[in-house]
């Protein structure tokens, strides 16, 4: 891992009126590092992820990103055009519900090719070849390239959403409960795929999950949230095998009982 963080998060809080979304969150994320954010429903995971990925403006605090030109930029001070450009080139965002991240009425090939076209690729043959290549990498038969995701199973849709995000070789991917809506057997296959891709591509990722098994399998480091605050963070194996906070101990033990 490189010595310079990709993302620097300092004292980020988000209030919905007087209600706390998340508060005083600080951490750094390095290139190639996978961070899991865990916690029960309502603990502020999605709010934090939204603040990191510019989908929400934090009420206070700063999120800085290490741009490809080597400069750190305060995301809140970027223009909307710059932020949107970043989101469709250097970043990916995988939604829990694939329909939120896919265009359900255009073909799988066009779903994957859209980002290439958005950054100016104007060669149909090349776009199609790249789409086919990515379908293969996410284990979708290449002859489904002209089918719409409406005709796909939940697991395939999620893999297609991942391909669509990775085609521009982003450096950072945000995922919100990526296996949330899937059957257990389908989850396992998707987790294997994500783990392989993250490793092969050297991706940094922030993955929100309420499932500690997902955190165990995918992440290097994890943060445990409760009532909007990070109550414990550390290397994933350390947190899961030797939880220090009573709340984390409860989480881990309740999982082990299942």
């Amino acid at each position: 891992m490189s010595a310079v963080p990709l993302l620097k998060v300092s004292d980020v809080s988000k209030f919905y009126g007087s209600r706390i979304g998340c508060r005083n969150v600080s951490f750094e994320l390095y290139p190639g590092e996978v961070l899991a954010i865990v916690g029960e429903s309502g603990s502020g995971k999605t709010t934090l992820l939204s603040c990191l990925s510019t989908r929400l403006m934090p009420t206070s605090g700063v999120v800085e990103y290490h741009m490809r030109d080597g400069q750190y930029r305060d995301l809140a001070r970027m223009s909307e055009a710059e932020r949107r450009f970043l989101m469709r080139t250097d970043w990916g965002f995988v939604h829990q519900n694939p329909a939120d991240g896919l265009r359900m009425t255009v073909s799988a090939g066009a779903n994957v090719g859209e980002r290439l076209m958005a950054v100016g690729d104007r060669h149909y043959g090349n776009i199609r070849a790249a789409a086919g290549d990515w379908l293969r990498r996410v284990e979708i038969e290449e002859d489904r390239i002209d089918d719409q995701p409406r005709a796909f199973s939940g697991g395939m849709r999620q893999r297609l959403q991942i391909a669509r995000n990775l085609v521009t070789s982003p450096r950072l991917v945000f995922m919100d409960e990526p296996t949330g809506g899937l059957d257990v057997s389908v989850q396992a296959r998707l987790l294997d795929l994500v783990r392989g891709l993250v490793h092969d591509l050297g991706l940094a990722a922030v993955i929100v999950t309420h499932d500690l098994a997902v955190a165990r399998l995918l992440s290097h480091r994890m943060m445990v949230m409760k009532d909007g605050a990070v109550i414990e963070q550390g290397l994933t194996d350390r947190v899961l095998d030797d939880p220090r906070e009573p709340y984390t101990q409860l989480l881990v033990s309740s999982i082990l009982q299942v």
Binding site: R103, V106, A110, E114, R115, A118, V119, H123, Y124
Partner: protein, 297 residues
Amino acid sequence: MNDLANYNFAYLDEQTKRMIRRAILKAIAIPGYQVPFASREMPMPYGWGTGGVQVTASILGPSDVLKVIDQGADDTTNAVSIRAFFQKVANVAVTTRTADATIIQTRHRIPEEKLGEGQTLVYQVPIPEPLRFLEPRETETRKMHALEEYGLMHVKLYEDIARNGHIATTYAYPVKVEGRYVMDPSPTPKFDNPKMHMSEALQLFGAGREKRIYAVPPYTEVVSLDFEDHPFEVQKFDRPCALCGAENVYLDEVVLDDKGGRMFVCSDTDHCEDRRAHGHAGAMLAPAAKESQEAAE
């Protein structure tokens, strides 16, 4: 008191015309940008060209000569009733001859005869937003225009090629105006797209139901979107007009009888008649002309 006294000149009141003219001026200043305007109720249903009619009403002066076409023809119901409307409410001269007109209101076609400086083409537009097909949210499409995010237009063309092996869009083929805004040229055939490029005439687009006006000023770059390996092409017809023998014009298919007989003729009726008046004859007309000549002898 005659009929005309019941209306302000060209039907709309002067305040409304000023509002629409401001929208038109803004549209001309930002080629291809859709300017919102307060579209008025017109004495005809939406889909009958209420946007085009309001634009025409706002730019029309007593000395103008008006031509109205629908699918290239001056004698279809829509064209006849709009022409009659302006004769009644503005008492302007009307014509079917492209070269004589100062304002041409159109649905579907750009005349074959090259338009010149001083002429204005007014398009009736049903759906002004080219991104609507893939992005139904207006807030999002406006943002995409503002930020010049046009990848989605190519997604549409990609789908076309994936499905048909080539770009099968033949009408309302999207263009980029002056290197900036992507624009829907209204339901004209793509055959007419090249005529928009560097046109000497002013082109105004009115969408009544959607309350939008946009414009292409004279001598403006209008480029049809495409892929490097699937370049834009206009429709080609493998035969000339059956009536006037014209080539490189847009042809309509006309069914002649119930035995499968058919012919292809100019969609621009004025262009066709003009050519025939100058002695040109196509395959269908040539024998008929000969017959009538023989009968006269």
